[in-house]
Amino acid sequence: MDTPSQDRPIKAIHPRWQELSFTAKRFFKNPLSTIGLAILALFLIIAILAPVICPPKYPDPYKIPHAGWQIQPSPPSAGHIFGTTEEQYDLLYGIVWGTRSAFRIGILVVGANLIIGILLGAIAGYFGGLVDEILMRITDVFYSIPYLVMAMALVVAIGRGLTAVIIVMIILEWPAYTRILRSDILVIRNKEYIMAARASGSSHFKIILKHILPNAMYSVLILASMNIGATILTAAALSFLGLGSQTGTADWGQIVSLCRNWIVGLPGHPFAFWYTVFIPGFVITLFVLGWNLLGDAVRDVFDPKLRRK
């Protein structure tokens, strides 16, 4: 470390920018994280350009247009690049607009979970005692609710649609975030700089905001970035089971559910309708892979133990 006699020139760049560039450098050192980011960038572009690639035919852009009313899917052809699935829903349209749904679900669910988790986790972790006990018992209750039962109940109450899926996932996943943030806070709470902040006269709220959260955020952020992929998968599964959006909505899980009757294909041609399964499945996989790679990279960059190795 520099001795006072070897002072460096006064920094021209604000140290926060330096930290950011340092983080970015570390981030891109790993080729996998660049790949992950590239995949997500691709999907983002598709989502933004959805009206351009596939102009909507109905007032609600999420309704996939029929190319006819024939039940049997037709293979990829000039008019329909990805082919069509049951009842002639255009696959290309579904995939492209489904990207928007996927992002919507992922970000809404994880975003809401983060907010709830941080709020409750911070309160439980920092104040401890009775408040902590109560909140933890509440999370215990939510942990023990069976997923599908809750999903079905909510669908009955609210009706089918992505909203139901989103609400179900928020209700059932916030405990994990709360727990993780709380455990980090329990460690940080006893550090001396928190005591120093109290001795300085900071209020509890300020301490949580300025000292505890910036230091405790790492684990939750890592969880969030790794979870977005899993969230999409779960949403797709729920849609596949019929608990998600209406038939014909541009949602990947929904599209996969349409192929249920066609997976086996025709007698003699077992993979006649491969495109109904493969294309949406591949797209989902790629999307989740992108988020997982991103999550791994975030963890590698933010893990305090690995930071200075």
């Binding site: 470390m1 001795t3 006072p4 006699s5 070897q6 200075r308 190795k309």
Partner: protein, 433 residues
């Protein structure tokens, strides 16, 4: 009479390859530890005292690597004059001398003890690894002495004796093999021609093979009920453990042996760590800041214990510390290290009476003493970053007596007075007259 060397390092350099650069922890240092003395290594954080002894035992943590130099140890019981180059030996050889010939105790006793094993189990590990043959022999003679005369008990006893004897045979055969290999390695120690080097490699490879017991014993050891034949062995080891604890002055040793580390206080834990280190009567005990985490009164107890043990059980001690008071109390000779360099080496009396190196002098003046008059004299600045260490003499940025040459050249170590070595340009000038 010149003392017999125990450990000699020369030109030793160890580097740590980290994300931020190469940390040059040891800068071609030379140290000599004599047999039968308490040798102190003093310095502040980052000076390399821990890295030095870890290099000696070859337990430098990754990403560290010993990158050059030699470490010679005179551990051959038959021929005390002949040294062994430690850096050439295999890892298995090092495992066999760690705990047996050289032992080390660390700063945090709580971290050195395994929380899920009882004290007895942890000390027994040492016995099981190094002195198995002896333990087997003791058990066999005990069983033979207590043998019941007839009936199913006699049959069971005979079975046990048979199996234990087989194990003992295997260990003894292994021991003889090792001894022959070691003898040949000693003979070839200094030879550097191609044939010898390949022979040495062959021998090291031979030595690495595990102990082979008979198939029968291996089989029986896997059968749940018959496995109990080893219980007398475990009992023998338990007795040895309790005796060891008693000889260290630990009250109520039978009780303590059954306890777990977290049930004991810091001072007691450190005593257990010392017990583990001494289980096999090592020639050298290395103590890396063993009392830094302990209270002053407990520290006095531990230091007293080490002093007592030095008289009876251990022959030499290397004591690392940053506390000059401890050095004055317990050490015979001492080395002062700074930022990976050896600054000064002398007997303790000599160093305190007449410190030559400016750093050593500064250190002695910066420590609050009981007869302190006026302010403490400080050494300005801070310990340098070893990724980009200062050129020449590493102390020059903070030295009050700095000359031009100090920035350019690293000073050589000279013997200013018999037994008093210093590495400083202030003295090289006079010496080259």
């Amino acid at each position: 009479m010149t003392a017999q060397h125990l450990v000699e390092t020369s030109d030793l350099s160890t580097n740590f390859y980290t994300f931020e650069g190469i940390v040059r922890a040891l800068n071609n240092i030379a140290l000599v530890v004599n047999q039968g003395e308490t040798y102190g290594i003093v310095g502040e954080s980052g000076c390399g005292k821990s890295v030095t002894v870890r290099s000696m035992m070859r337990i430098v943590q990754t990403p560290g690597r010993i990158d050059g130099g030699s470490i010679v140890m005179y551990l051959n019981p038959e021929d005390k004059q002949k040294g062994i180059e430690i850096l050439d030996r295999s890892e298995v050889y090092m495992s066999s001398i760690r705990g047996k010939d050289i032992s080390m105790i660390f700063q945090e006793p709580g971290a050195a003890l395994n929380p899920v094993l009882s004290i007895e189990q942890q000390i027994a590990e040492s016995y099981q690894f190094h002195r198995m043959g002896e333990m087997l022999g003791l058990t066999i003679s005990r069983l033979q002495a207590e043998a019941p005369s007839s009936g199913p008990a006699k049959i069971w006893n005979d079975v046990r004796l048979g199996l234990l004897k087989r194990e003992l045979e295997a260990y003894e055969a292994h021991d003889t093999l090792i001894r022959t290999i070691d003898n040949e390695l000693y003979r070839l120690e200094d030879a550097s021609d191609q044939a010898s080097i390949s022979r040495k490699r062959e021998l090291n490879h031979e030595r690495d093979r595990p102990v082979r017991t008979s198939l029968l014993v291996d089989f029986v050891r896997r059968i749940p009920f018959l496995r109990r034949y080893r219980h007398p062995l475990e009992r023998t080891i338990s007795t040895e453990v309790v005796d060891l604890l008693r000889s260290l002055g630990i009250p109520n040793p039978e009780n303590i042996a059954k306890r777990y580390p977290h049930e004991l206080s810091g001072g007691m834990q450190q005593r257990i760590v010392i017990a583990i280190a001494l289980a096999c009567h090592p020639t050298l005990l290395i103590a890396d800041e063993p009392t830094s985490n302990l209270d002053v009164t407990i520290q006095a107890q531990i230091v007293d214990l080490i002093r007592e043990l030095k008289k009876t059980k251990i022959s030499s001690v290397v004591f690392i510390t940053h506390d000059l008071g401890l050095v004055a109390e317990i050490c015979d000779r001492v080395t002062v290290m700074y930022a990976g360099d050896v600054a000064e080496t002398a007997t303790v009396k000599e160093l305190f009476r007449n410190p030559l190196h400016p750093y050593a002098r500064g250190l002695l003046e910066a420590v609050p003493k009981e007869t302190q008059e006026g302010e403490l004299t400080i050494i300005p600045g801070a310990v340098p970053n070893l990724i980009r260490p200062p050129s020449g003499c590493r102390f020059h940025p903070r030295c009050k007596m700095k000359m031009d040459i100090c920035e350019r050249e690293k000073p050589e170590t000279i013997e200013r007075e018999p037994g008093h070595f210093v590495a400083c340009h202030l003295y090289t000038k006079d010496a080259s007259k």
